[in-house]
């Protein structure tokens, strides 16, 4: 039987994969994908907790919707900045944005 634990493990795995992607990838777009994975793992957490532990209100699901919307806004700002970078160095691909070292 699939229970809360399964969802939590799935979310934790997704979060870790996303974090790894965000830290290890050099390509800015891949980093964004990693961050999206992290945010979606959070959504899984919210919806799973909502469904299994606190089904009386849909608060967790509402939170997930907000996370999706805000993430979209964040990513479009990020993509716009990637475009600006790309325009400045017109001859390089996005995969060569290796100035991002931290």
């Amino acid at each position: 039987m699939i229970g809360l634990t399964h969802y939590l493990i799935l979310a934790a795995l997704l979060f870790s994969i996303g974090l790894l992607g965000a830290i290890a990838k050099r390509n800015a777009i891949s980093v964004f994908m990693g961050i999206e994975l992290m945010l979606n793992s959070v959504n899984i957490n919210f919806v799973a907790f909502n469904h299994f532990l606190h089904p009386q209100f849909l608060a967790g699901q509402a939170f997930a919707i907000f996370v999706i919307v805000v993430a979209a806004a964040e990513v479009s700002v990020g993509l716009a900045i990637i475009l600006a970078l790309y325009r400045r160095r017109a001859n390089t691909g996005v995969d060569e944005l290796d100035l991002l070292k931290w």
Partner: protein
């Protein structure tokens, strides 16, 4: 539970086998006369013009970015619409303000020339 998933598995396996059978029967029955025209790539029935890995115009991305933002904002309309009748006046006014702000955003993008094609 196991029984339900078993049925699902049977369907999956059946679908997989069926598609293999179709490919195999086609291979068995088809006439074999290859020609150079058949080996060429084609695009919507036409021959391709120039290299296929071209850069898209940057304006596409502007459209896409604006589209994504407005597309996702619509998510909020669904829960509102599904409880529209019971919700009353206050949520209606709130949603009107929300859409008003979005409309202001569109107007801003328009005035800034984000929808111009040049």
């Amino acid at each position: 539970m196991a029984k339900e998933f078993g049925t699902l598995f049977l369907f999956l396996a059946g679908g997989f086998v069926l598609s293999l059978v179709i490919v195999f029967v086609n291979w068995l029955l088809r006439p074999r006369n290859p020609s150079s025209a058949k080996a060429r790539t084609y695009e919507c029935g036409l021959e391709t013009e120039g290299p296929t890995w071209v850069q898209f115009k940057i304006s596409y991305y502007l459209y896409a970015l604006i589209f994504v933002v407005f597309d996702v904002e619509v998510v909020f309309l669904y829960p509102w619409a599904s409880s529209f009748k019971s919700a009353g006046l206050v949520p209606f006014v709130e949603m009107a303000i929300f859409i008003g702000v979005l409309a202001l955003g569109i107007w801003f993008a328009w005035k800034k020339g984000a929808f111009e094609w040049n």
